[in-house]
């Protein structure tokens, strides 16, 4: 079965019935979600409508450049979304996330399309674009989860990090435990039991420490900034230790 299905407009419209179910539920249970549901439905409709036209143009061109352009747009949007989920902005975080998402998604996309599927021609948009969408979407969720967890751990474990720094550990080593937690959070399969999530979330929460981390630790979180433009809290020393 290799043919492409042609979905009739009435079938697409039928998808609205599912939203109507939620709409009625919200109304009956007085959840107050009707307005946001309506807005989300209209937005999704318009987005998919526009994306459909763009994809049709890309498919028609049969050239690698627009396909790669579409993938690049996906990575940019994913970067923006992942970074915007962070509670605290850090200098250089957008560039860092963009590099990480490009490298991670790019390598995975090449591996899947070339080695696993063997797409020919290599840029065939029918395969490359949906697969890229799935890979970039997962990478975005992983990056956002890792970033959120790292910041939560950092906020919760300031005394521990400061103690390690005071004992002469370079900042990357003082932050190693936090990094492990962040990576674990990003790599836990999405279908993990709810109880695990609750435990993990409880572990990641905690009281807010008013005092910012030492400069060395902040510098290690990401790239240092010039002393004239300190990040939230305080400036980075730029030593990156």
């Amino acid at each position: 079965m290799t043919e492409v299905l042609d979905i009739a407009p009435w079938r697409l419209a039928a998808a609205l019935l599912l939203i109507a179910v939620v709409f009625v539920l919200s109304f009956r249970e007085r959840l107050g979600l009707e307005r946001s549901l309506l807005m989300a439905t209209v937005r999704t409709f318009l987005q998919l409508f526009l994306v459909g036209y763009v994809l049709r143009a890309i498919f028609a061109l049969e050239h690698w450049a627009p396909v790669l352009g579409a993938v690049a747009v996906m990575v940019l949007v994913a970067t923006h979304t992942a970074v915007s989920r962070l509670k605290r902005r850090v200098a250089g975080i957008t560039a860092f996330a963009a590099i990480a998402l490009t490298a991670g998604s790019g390598l995975t996309l090449v591996f899947v399309t070339e080695v696993v599927i063997g797409v020919r021609p290599w840029f065939d948009p029918q395969y490359v674009i949906p697969i890229a969408g799935m890979i970039v979407g997962n990478a975005m969720n992983g990056a956002a989860l890792a970033g959120e967890r790292f910041q939560a751990e950092l906020k919760n474990r300031v005394p521990e990090v400061e103690t390690l720094l005071a004992l002469g550990f370079p900042a990357p080593e003082a932050l190693a435990g936090l990094r492990q937690e962040a990576i674990r959070a990003a790599l836990i399969p999405r279908g993990r039991p709810v109880s695990d999530r609750c435990d993990a979330d409880a572990h990641g929460g905690g009281r807010v420490h008013e005092r910012p981390l030492p400069r060395a630790a902040r510098a290690a979180v990401l790239h240092p900034r010039p002393p004239t433009a300190p990040p939230p809290g305080r400036g980075l020393s730029g030593r990156g230790r």
């Binding site: 521990e160 103690t163 720094l165 005071a166 002469g168 060395a216 002393p227 990040p231």
Partner: protein, 247 residues
Amino acid sequence: MPVVILECRGVSLHYQGGDGAAGREVLRGVSFTLKAGERLNVVGPSGGGKSTLLRLLNRFEDPDQGKVLFHGKDLRTYDPLEIRRRIALTLQTPVMFDGTVRDNLLRRPRERRAALTEADLRGALEDVALDATFLDRVAGELSGGEKQRVAIARVLLMRPEVLLLDEPTSALDPVAAGHLIETVTTLNQEKGLTLVVVSHDLNVVRRLSGRLLFLAGGEVIVDAETCASLEHPTHPAVRDFLAGSLP
């Protein structure tokens, strides 16, 4: 004549507010000198910049203006890791890592851990008036005073020249606090360790004696001999603090 080991020259520091909020000036034009072997009490109301000053001295922070000199050289010219070894800091709440006291004493970068012998560990515990049986006790099960001593022993193993103690007795009962102050005074008198102690507890400050630096609103209000400053306070802010009308 003792040499000047640390010097603050017109040091100012402000914390930037989050999301564009106005910053807060924590230290303003702070200047003082510290001689080798001195005991310096840093006292003052909450939010006066005492703990921030300690953080400047071991490069957890860098000043916005002015400079901190260590042996006459700007602190920023030193490797921060070297500074944290030579100017050791213990935090208000001692953090004990999983495992025994021995594990905690050995918790340091690999290259330094290898150089530590059993005798070093026992010696460090002895310096803080704990016997060798503590080595194999679970660190998390120690009392507050014992944890604070282990935290001090842990940094003493770095053989620092200056020991910075941030509110070391805040979580201790008066007896444990007295013993701890006795211990650090002995370290100062017998080993020549230079001490900078931030404390709210005036009993602790009196017992430690030495010099007093009274900080309020980020500025040095008084820099004088401790006992005289507390017995005959001349500045209204110090009088208010002693009378308990400043937090």
